[in-house]
């Protein structure tokens, strides 16, 4: 039943024709495939053949793991929580008195002390906790065509952006919940000289987003150099203080191709995440990027997190070839390597013991 049914449906399969023909008395072809005699490699995993593999894996993984662990430990990292939940926190008042429509931004500055100097480039992240950027309805609430500079999408944002697609019958640019909730605290870093003067640490806001995002995926609408004209007819997202074409003064970092904006638009995987905010480039090889000493973090407190019990923090970190500080990989590699090595030893023992016995003991019996 089944076969005949299939023959009609899958008639295009070559084998059907062959099979059908052979039913009519033709001697089946003596090919290796049809006789299930294709030459085949028949590997047998034995203790003998797996043993070297275990040792090799052990010998490779343990050094890699140690290297990873050491690298991770050498990374300098400091986290400064500025949520302002605690009364002692300088940002407490800003957090308590937050209102959406306040005209004058609330600022607070948090002093901290760097125990060690940061030698190489320092990356400044902002971290949010309990912020579900990976919520399904949040993740899909964007219009990539609009962000790619598509003019029709600019005026007619995707339905996915609802309820942040239109405001007072005007299209929102950039539309959607992700853009609407963009992180808008301004963070500045000051080095407190031993003599007491505050020196602003220069923060570079380029090179924080993926190159392909900045140059291909995100594009401003039209070829207009004048961004405000390009965004004519659209309104800013409801929560934003400035329209999108006023994000930066640099035309290469304004509008949709503003890197802070692009970084925010790459939704985080987990509810606790960090995003790259600024890079502190090393000036010359003689002076450390951030010498040890007192610093002050000045925060323009715009981003409310109290409503969802979130926390905000700033992370200053150096970066190695494996990325940021994460001891997990190193520990995992050392563990797996050791386990493999140990298993290798056990297998060797078993192999040695039983390999000998089976060849000699029985003859004597």
């Amino acid at each position: 039943m089944m076969a005949s049914g299939y023959k009609e449906e899958d008639g295009h399969i070559g084998v059907t024709a062959l099979g059908g023909a052979s039913l009519r008395g033709r001697k089946p072809e003596n090919t290796a495939f049809k006789q299930q005699r294709l030459p085949a490699w028949q590997p047998v995993l034995t203790a003998g053949s797996v043993l070297p593999a275990f040792f090799i894996i052990g010998l490779i993984f343990i050094p890699i793991g140690i290297g990873l662990y050491v690298t991770s430990n050498n990374i300098r990292e400091i986290e400064i929580d500025y949520t302002g939940e605690e009364v002692s926190n300088p940002c407490f008042s800003c957090a308590q008195n937050f209102t959406w429509n306040s005209s004058s931004p609330c600022t607070c500055s948090i002093p901290f002390y760097l125990q060690q100097s940061y030698e190489s480039n320092v990356f400044m992240y902002y971290g949010l906790s309990n912020f579900y950027q990976n919520h399904r309805r949040y993740v899909k609430s964007r219009d990539d065509s609009q962000l790619n500079g598509d003019l029709t999408s600019l005026t007619k944002p995707s339905k996915e952006c609802e309820p942040y697609a239109f405001h007072e019958h005007k299209p929102i640019a950039p539309c959607g919940a992700i853009a609407n909730s963009m992180f808008n605290d301004t963070l500045e870093l000051f080095y407190i000289d031993p003599n007491g003067s505050r020196v602003a640490v220069p923060l570079s806001s380029t090179g924080i987003a993926w190159w392909t995002d900045k140059h291909v995926k995100f594009r401003n609408p039209g070829n207009n150099a004048n961004l405000s004209a390009a965004f004519q007819g659209t309104v800013k997202p409801i929560n934003w203080r400035h329209p999108v074409y006023e994000l930066d003064t640099d035309p290469e970092n304004n509008g949709f191709i503003n890197e802070d904006f692009i970084v925010w638009m790459r939704t985080a995987a987990l509810p606790t995440f960090r995003k790259l905010y600024r890079v502190i480039q090393r000036k010359n090889s003689l002076v450390p990027t951030l010498p040890r000493g007192n610093y002050s973090l000045q925060v323009t407190y715009n981003f409310p997190v109290r409503s969802f019990e979130g926390r905000k923090r700033v992370i200053l970190s150096t970066i190695s070839w494996m990325g940021g500080k994460n001891p997990f990989l190193g520990i995992a590699y050392v563990t797996v390597g050791s386990v493999c090595f140990f298993l290798g030893v056990v297998l060797l023992f078993i192999h040695h013991k039983y390999g000998n016995k089976s060849s000699s003991a029985d003859m004597a019996n």
């Binding site: 039943m1 089944m2 949040y138 995987a269 995440f273 940021g324 029985d362």
Partner: protein, 885 residues
Amino acid sequence: MFTDFLSFMVLFNFIIPVSMYVTVEMQKFLGSFFITWDKDFYDNEIKEGALVNTSDLNEELGQVEYVFTDKTGTLTQNNMEFIECCIDGFQYKHQDASSELDGFCVTDGPVSKLHQKAGREKEELFLRALCLCHTVQVKESTEQCPDQVDGMSNEVDCLGIDGALSHPQERRGFIASSPDEIALVKGAMRYGFTFLGLESKSMKILNRSNVVEKYELLHVLNFDPVRRRMSVIVRASSGDTLLFCKGADSSIFPRVRKEEVDRIRLHVERNATDGYRTLCVAYKLLSAEEYTQADAELREARLALQDREEKLMAVYNQVETGMSLIGATAVEDRLQEEAAETMEALQGAGMKVWVLTGDKMETAKSTCYACRLFQKNTELLELTVRTLDDKDRAREDKLHELLLEYHKKAVQDAPPVKAGVTRSWSSASQDYGFIVDGASLSMILNSSPESSNSRYKNLFLQICQNCTAVLCCRMAPLQKAQIVKMVKNSKGSPITLSIGDGANDVSMILEAHVGIGIKGKEGRQAVRNSDYALPKLKHLKKLLLAHGHLYYVRIAHLVQYFFYKNLCFILPQFLYQFFCGYSQQPLYDAAYLTMYNICFTSMPILAYSLLEQHICIEVLLDNATLYREIAKNAMLRWRPFLYWTVLGLFHGLLFFFGVWYLFHNPALQDNGQVFGNWSYGTIVFTVLVFTVTLKLALDTRHWTWINHFVIWGSLAFYVFFSFFWGGIIWPFLRQQRLYFVFANMLSSVSAWLVIILLILLSLLPEILLVVFRKPRGPHSRQSLPVFYLLLSSSPTVTIHFPIPMSSSSLKYSLVSMCSTAAKMLSCLLPWHVLLMTAAPPSTKRTCMKFNAELQHYQTEREREREREGVRGGAGQQCPDGVLFA
């Protein structure tokens, strides 16, 4: 709320492997071609190969527990052949005949020509007896040979087919009620005595010196199954009145002189164990008075109006006394090619073979012996009209009594089910065969509508299931189906297979799970109604042991693998819900979700399920016991399912949390940039695709180029597709989620390291398990598992184990080897099993245990023999060395 529910449904629907259905159907459909293509199934005579009518049952072929086979035309060719005779204690064997035998060639002493052994008169007497004592009619040679009519009732045999005989007068057909008689007449013809026919009460015989002898046929004392003999009374031209009688040994021996019996009994018994149908021939010279008396009594009995049967019987018995035995004949119902080997293989594979035939019991029984379904030491339990007929009681009571008796014997007294060697050993030495006929069966199945009905049925079923072979004779076609149905619906619902060639087998072919038709000369009904049609019975062995076994393993692995791969596919997605506010956010991109089962992981398993040979075909055919390892759905039971499920859970957890730990710091690139949720999903998915594919690679024991192509090709395709999918801003998509995600992932050293780590860690337990499970490993084509059993003058059995075996099949092999040796040599040595070559520890332990139990068994047997006073020192009979391969 409801939309949430629906979203979760959409998100997790992949856990139900819908694509498995498609793959399974493709596997079944494409897989069935390998049966059609198999050139071993091609028969040169009918110029046809196997025919597959359904693709649904390939794997059932690996699960068969009961084989129901027709006899006529399936097991036998229904073609009697005179094999040898024994005259006055001397053996005569036609030289041509020995070459035609398959597998039965017993060469004890040189085959001698006819004229050099017994006295000439005895020979001629014997041959005359063969020519006269029958009810055969001659069919004129001018007519066309009519086709064989079904069954044994009207057997017409054409000598012209044989072709070996060329004399014009020998080109004649014989018609008889039994094919044996034709064989005997033809056998006599071979030795020079030709039966020319019956004309007006006189039988004409052309004797060796080409002289026509005439005999007047006076009386025919008909054959009947109770007497089991027939006689003729003839008057020779010389005037002597002769009675010739032929019949079963049991009915002849008591009626002849003792001293004659001993010389012939040996031959008869040997022939019987060889599976030949034996008949003894006796004669008696009737004096005139004796004849007149017999003649009168016979006439009177024939004319009797009351109790004619009984009176006739009494007269017959009276006449057939005081005869002298001349000799015995051995006739073979030619079996199908390799019928015995096939049946032996099926039994070795743990299948119970039931012969369902319309034939009479004796014929069927001898076929069963010939097919080695019944062995010499098989104890036969008969439930037939003959055993049921008891003058004192009603059949019903007798049936009840017999059933209980047999049940006690075969079921209750059977050794308790324990996983020891003793059980298999002792059950191998105490086989039971069960014989039932149609009448008794209908009594069992449709007796009085009381409650005893089902009780009988249960008893019957239990007895049958404890017997190694069951013979059901005198079956109507519908009764065959009834039997199959009864077994099919019994406890554990075993998989049944029916094989037959004729229209009368159609009902049972349709009833069984798997129906197999033999493409005989008897029309096409069986073939049309079957699931598989084979040209010959012998092909059944390969179909079940090789194709069935492989297909079962393939599909079982396919199903388990599918559940596994979808479990570890969806589990990370499930776990992700705890980290995204239960918002049904998919972990993987939609393209990956869609393509996973269709493109990335479907082809390797399909190729595996079509090409895998975990044990190569030759080994499967040589070791029927391997079939037992997959019996009772061994690969789809709870344990393997749990194993696969645990493996899937382990992998899923590992994938998700491995990457989760990594994403504690999402700054994974050396330029400090961070990864988002799609990168997270892509890393998990990459690990997933590689792991499940490599897991399959680990399971693959038979790497053809197709496997290589498909496995590595799938992985390459995944990488290629990911680059392609993320490399373009797709104009028709609103979302460009994966734009350069994959490429960016590959630019991160940490991502590489975590992918390698997780793949390796997932496969590690698998590799370990494979190593420790080594005894189950594959049997390569080079090291065929040959058992050398060497019986030398020293009482030691040496077994060479080139391959590792699982303990269950090892046990069985040992037992079967030893019992084979015991049968061959008909002696019992104080055996001791010695292992020669490197065997795994488990094998050694089994052998040790086996030795201990064997010793115990032997001492018991020894004691028994002493008690019975059987002569000792049997070992001296044994030849010095026997080597089987």
